[in-house]
Symmetry: C2
Subunit: 200 residues, 2 copies
């Protein structure tokens, strides 16, 4: 199981790393979570330079993909060459987008007739791309999920874990990262957000 | 205002980057948030390599310091040379520690007679260092704050903002990162955690 977190120049640290940390709570030999970037290194909106793991192209072969968010998503969606490198396929991949990552999915035509979540700043751009934006932190239909607000990224990670490893594994991963003294309430609320969108 | 986030090899991504992202919501020319590392690059517990910004030594001159957490804190606290590079001074710096970062403060003697928060894994080590561990996500006394559970790191960041820029600025930064549809409840709970420990 390879989960690729697409991380572009100008990326938002929370949107890439919170999901990465939570997904890595699954300890299985074939479970691999990577930052997929368009170049060998990318620098965040706040100046944090990270080294890419696989290239963007390898996301095509991943079992799940999270499209991260950032300050330069406008440049991503307006770069036809870069967009052409994102060959995502919801018929065989779980596809999740965080905040302005939802705009990328919209521009790729993956949200046609599917409502979505995004952050307040990206909302008008996603709407302009013809997608209905929901006033909630998480939504999924079939193999496509979206989240809005940096700290909704645990819900995206939990959805991927629940879809592939079951709800108990998702709850355990959330429990580990939740604040001490608030763990039960945090897990219960997170599961309340994602459970309605899991297959029966 | 320089806030240094001490980030060691084997670091936990959430514990360094969530605080970094939230602290960077303050947009002022003299406001600077950096990853301070013992070497030019460090690699996280999950294989994410980041480039250090200032060196560890520069944390000595910072106005606030967050001691991050990670898989190799045992090696940090058992490395006298590395520990000697951490010249933290709560009489002139705000000092905050996340999860196993609390163990570093304990070993530096900064938590003598001060109870503290940490994660469930680090708890026995912090107790062994003679510090009372609280079953709550956040605690501060004077210029020293500690938090337990990765997702308690917004509370540490909010405490630093509240102490230097006021509670309204802290609330605004938290509001930005909170999940869509849960923003008011999230901010209210976070402020409830930190307000009792702010100067009257």
């Amino acid at each position: 199981m390879h989960i690729a977190i697409l991380t572009f120049d100008g990326y938002n640290e929370l949107d890439s790393f919170v999901a990465l940390g939570i997904l890595n709570r699954i300890k299985q030999p074939d479970w691999r979570v990577t930052l997929c970037c368009p170049s060998a290194e990318v620098t965040s909106m706040n100046g944090v330079t990270v080294r890419a793991q696989p290239t963007l192209e390898q996301a095509h072969a991943a079992d799940a993909v999270i499209v991260g968010s950032g300050l330069k998503t406008r440049e991503v969606v307006n770069d036809p060459e870069l967009m052409a490198r994102l060959r995502l396929d919801p018929t065989r991949q779980l596809i999740a987008a965080q905040c302005s990552g939802t705009w990328v999915l919209a521009k790729l035509g993956l949200l046609d007739l599917v409502p979505a979540c995004t952050d307040l700043t990206s909302k008008p751009w996603v709407q302009e791309a013809g997608v209905e934006v929901l006033n909630q932190p998480f939504y999924a239909r079939g193999n496509i999920a979206t989240a809005g607000g940096c700290l909704a990224s645990p819900y995206l990670a939990a959805w991927i874990i629940a879809r592939t490893q079951g709800t108990e594994a998702a709850a355990a991963a959330l429990h580990y990262v939740a604040p001490v003294g608030e763990k039960e309430a945090y897990v219960a609320n997170a599961l309340k957000q994602i459970t309605p969108y899991l297959p029966a």
